[in-house]
Subunit: 141 residues, 2 copies
Amino acid sequence: MEQRVSLVTLGVRDLARARRFYEALGWVPGGGGDEIVFFQAGGMIVGLWGRDELAVDSGVEDAGGWGGVTLAQNVRSPQEVDALIEEAARAGASLVRPAQKTDWGGYSGGFVDPEGHAWEVAHNPFWALRDDGTISLDRPA
Amino acid sequence: MEQRVSLVTLGVRDLARARRFYEALGWVPGGGGDEIVFFQAGGMIVGLWGRDELAVDSGVEDAGGWGGVTLAQNVRSPQEVDALIEEAARAGASLVRPAQKTDWGGYSGGFVDPEGHAWEVAHNPFWALRDDGTISLDRPA
């Protein structure tokens, strides 16, 4: 199996609400329609799809809440973390962890989207965040 | 918010077991240690971390099962879907959906990793899968 992820699909209870949230954050759908929405996200894709349908398609039982997956977006400075956390709150996210210094030497905060999906916003000075938005475990040059 | 994901962290109950599974699929860790494992995955990173710790860090209650997030890896042919599904089974995945033609014109199957995280393996002839493994909503050339 190649070491990559093509698609992360977030199951949603209200597709219009979920779409509005990500659009309020500035994301622009690149495909899909009334039943599914796809966002081009760098070299991969983020999808929004009915949670019930996704559970059936995935062959799993839905536990009904958070299920052990958290997404993160890394940004270029602590100030950008603060700004993005505030932007998410304005867009309707729940702020669950104030932005603060972390014990691993970075700075991060957390929000939960209107569908219950958890995001971290982080500045990690030990990972290389390139101009094109891709990130690498290599130390920054 | 930029339209990209830097990190997908999968909460795990048994880090050694989870690491063995992804290593059996050919993934090679690029960082972390005894408490967390990071895999470089194209232009983003996949992490494995204790599920309890991830829940606390994410500011959420753990519903205990699948929580509405499914990952996918797209490959270049239906035959590659079959091969990867078989590889996942040998590595210890549960096969929850046999590989088959889909109603959207592709071919896909599904597995669940030993920690309960759902994956789809898909051939989608309508998305451009580039040589470097990145994927685009654009039609293939």
